[in-house]
């Protein structure tokens, strides 16, 4: 490039501040984007904005360079370093006499503290009342000593026992279940059932049902079963929007006893699956258990409403899945005969590694998360989640070939996974394979004709290939689904025309 042209450009760029708009990204957001600390959704939004805003692109590059400088330190000359260190004003610390300066004030403060409530009768009264309230609250919250019936709205008949049996009728395992619908839908953990020939559900009153089939979600260790009956006792469902981090909840560990069957826990995190289709819905609930031992069972709030079901099989990893959305399984799947579960490759360890990976990923420990996901895949190559997550990490690490391979694995397991199709399309675009990307976006639109993002990406891929006509064909449909995306596509199509005319 000749110098004059470059000088013109550089001079123009010195006015970059004039392009700043109220919708520009905060420095913090750009920093989190650079260091891979945004969720996939936030990241996509940030990329969308940066790619159409010179000011934010400038901010991104400036910060990227500074972070690079900070991470790749070149040693300073020692004389300069010493000079800089010497600039700091030295403070003389007086030498304290041990008794006078440390022990004596401590004794005095302690004596003051003890004597304080008794100096005036009002203070003494306040102290006694405060202590009484504290004792009352402690006793109220000490749930394990309270009977199940004292918790409002909690009907013990809603809890069932699930037994898995061999061909010979031998009990292979027992699990807890909860009735989530009066028409007889029971939710329980899937893994204790895998390998059984038959399953039996025992109600609190002793009535027993033989179960031949179920609906399953392997990645949530969740099974739904139907028992014949009307007006069964189902627990009311909690509204997930009202569940919050820090909320005290109860884990029902033993449905058939009235005492010592409840553990207390606190919700420590609500994890939204970082996929497009999940649309930010909570997929996992992480719990800080107040008991040391492993507990499974139903998760309920203090009003007796059902929140979810504990699913982790490992001590110290208290994860639950919300049950309100569980009915989707019934709509999406046909019931599977329990005897067929014998043939499915299965490893509860794989799920544990998957969860560990999710926890590591959420803590921004991508390398550790990657190892956990790989281990999960090694133990069970047929779980979609770890492949999808691994693909995401490869994307962050710019290992696009490996990223593509993981999404292809997801599609081998489930060709209808629109998340995998979408990310695969994006990965192809990154590699410059626009034809392949277009094919993937079209597949998504066939599966989900309401997917605005797929239409938008399809339009962009057409534009990149110079097929403006095809891109604009998408515009009316996209406008109906997402006017924002539609306008952006139209604007880009118009600027691509101008460039070509020039």
């Amino acid at each position: 490039m000749d110098t004059a042209f470059k000088v013109t450009l550089r001079k123009a760029l010195n006015k970059i501040e004039t392009l700043k708009t109220p919708s520009c990204l905060e420095v913090e957001t750009i920093g989190f984007y650079i260091e891979g600390k945004l969720s996939k959704g936030e990241k996509r939004k940030a990329e969308e904005h940066i790619s159409s805003c010179l000011y934010c692109l400038h901010q991104l590059m400036e910060l990227k360079e500074l972070i690079y400088f900070q991470k790749h330190k070149a040693p300073l000359p020692s004389h300069l370093l010493n000079k800089l260190k010497d600039l700091y004003p030295k403070k003389e610390r007086p030498i304290k006499e041990f008794f006078r300066d440390i022990i004596s004030p401590f004794v005095q403060e302690t004596a003051n503290l003890i004597a304080f409530p008794f100096r005036r009768w009002q203070y003494a009264t306040v102290s006694i009342v405060t202590a009484s309230v504290a004792v009352f609250i402690t006793l109220t919250l000490w749930i394990p000593e309270k009977g199940i019936m004292t918790i409002p709205k909690l009907d013990p008949n809603s809890f069932v026992q699930v037994q898995s049996l061999s061909n010979e009728g031998r009990i292979l395992s027992e699990a807890k279940g909860v009735i989530i619908d009066p028409k007889g839908i029971v939710a329980t953990n899937l893994y204790p059932i895998m390998g059984a020939s038959l399953t039996r559900i025992i109600l609190r009153g002793g009535k027993t049902y033989q179960i031949q089939s179920l609906w399953k979600d392997e990645e949530k260790n969740l099974a739904l079963m139907k028992i014949e009956g009307e007006s069964l006792s189902a627990l009311p469902m909690a509204d997930l929007k009202q569940v919050y981090i820090g909320q005290r909840v109860l884990i029902l560990t033993d449905q058939l006893k009235t005492k010592k069957g409840i553990n207390s826990a606190i919700i420590s995190d609500l994890k939204a699956y970082p996929s497009r289709s999940a649309k930010g819905q909570v997929q996992y609930i992480q719990l800080a258990s107040l008991t040391a031992q492993y507990t499974g069972g139903a998760l309920i709030d203090q009003e007796g409403r059902l929140i979810g079901l504990l699913i982790s099989e490992e001590k110290g990893m208290n994860l639950a899945v919300p049950l309100r959305e569980a009915f989707n399984l019934i709509e999406e799947q046909k019931p599977i005969p329990i005897s067929k579960l014998k043939n499915i490759s299965f490893s509860p360890e794989a799920l544990n590694y998957y969860f560990k990976g999710i926890l590591a990923r959420d803590a921004q420990r991508n390398n550790e998360a990657m190892e956990f996901f790989k281990k999960a895949i090694e133990l069970n190559p047929n779980m979609e989640g770890p492949h999808l997550e691994l693909g995401s990490i490869y994307y962050i690490k710019r290992l696009y070939d490996l990223e593509i391979k993981e999404y292809q694995e997801v599609l081998r397991i489930n060709p209808k996974n629109t998340d995998a199709l979408f990310y695969l399309g994006e990965a192809y675009e990154t590699k410059g394979f626009y034809d392949l990307a277009i094919k993937e976006y079209k597949k998504i639109i066939t599966l989900d004709p309401e997917d605005a993002e797929a239409y938008y990406n399809l339009g962009l891929a057409y534009l990149t290939q110079g097929q403006k006509g095809k891109a604009l064909e998408i515009y009316p449909k996209l406008k109906a689904l997402d006017p924002g995306f539609a306008e952006k596509l139209k604007r880009l199509a118009s600027s691509s025309t101008q460039s070509r005319h020039n």
Partner: protein
């Protein structure tokens, strides 16, 4: 133990500096002295003794209220704040040096023919008021073209335009050297069309 726990937490280190913790200052100096040097090295014609003087002035400014006046909450904000101080200090140092000694190579041109003096004079928005309209138009054209690139290509383009060398781009963006060269040449053709034929 305490020093180790501070590594990587810039804001905590700054707070410790402000509360009179000398060890925190030593850590801060080690970390940001190097950042300041790297920022100044981008001005290709600043010699090492000048850089050392500028860096010293920067840290004096930080101690004289620069740190306590920082209002941000994240290391990203501090990095930007720090860069502003370094650049401003560099500019005022070199301007004062230029007044005193004409022999300082303020007009030394880089390979692209752009001098530090050009860059410094452009920092003043009122220095060339007659160019404002043209510059805005040029910016608009750049925006139109750049918007049509993929984000990674935009980043390559931006760094090249700012004068970064291919090797630096390779390191910071982690892209192969061949990619930088080939992508940039395609992009610049597009931009030249847009700017040249307005």
């Amino acid at each position: 133990m305490y020093i180790l726990s501070m590594v990587g937490d810039v804001i905590l280190t700054i707070e410790q500096c402000l509360t009179g913790e000398e060890r925190a200052w030593n850590l801060f100096v080690k970390e940001f002295g190097s950042v300041a040097d790297n920022i100044l090295k981008k001005f290709s014609d600043i010699a090492l003794p000048d850089r050392e003087n500028i860096i010293q002035n920067v840290f004096i400014k930080l101690l004289k209220g620069g740190l306590s006046n920082f209002r941000g909450a994240t290391k990203y904000e501090f990095l930007k704040y720090f860069k502003t101080i370094v650049v401003n200090e560099g500019i005022s140092y070199l301007k004062s040096e230029a007044r005193d000694k004409e022999h300082i190579s303020l007009n030394g041109k880089d390979s692209e023919g752009v001098s530090l003096k050009d860059l410094i004079s452009d920092q003043d928005p009122h220095s060339r008021p007659d160019l404002t309209a043209d510059e805005k138009e040029a910016l608009d054209s750049i925006r139109k073209v750049v918007e049509s690139f993929l984000l990674i290509d935009q980043q390559i383009f931006w760094m090249k335009l700012k004068g970064d060398k291919d090797e630096e781009i390779r390191k910071i963006l982690k892209v192969p050297l061949g990619t930088v060269a080939s992508k940039y040449s395609r992009m610049i053709i597009k931009l030249r069309k847009e700017l040249g034929e307005r």
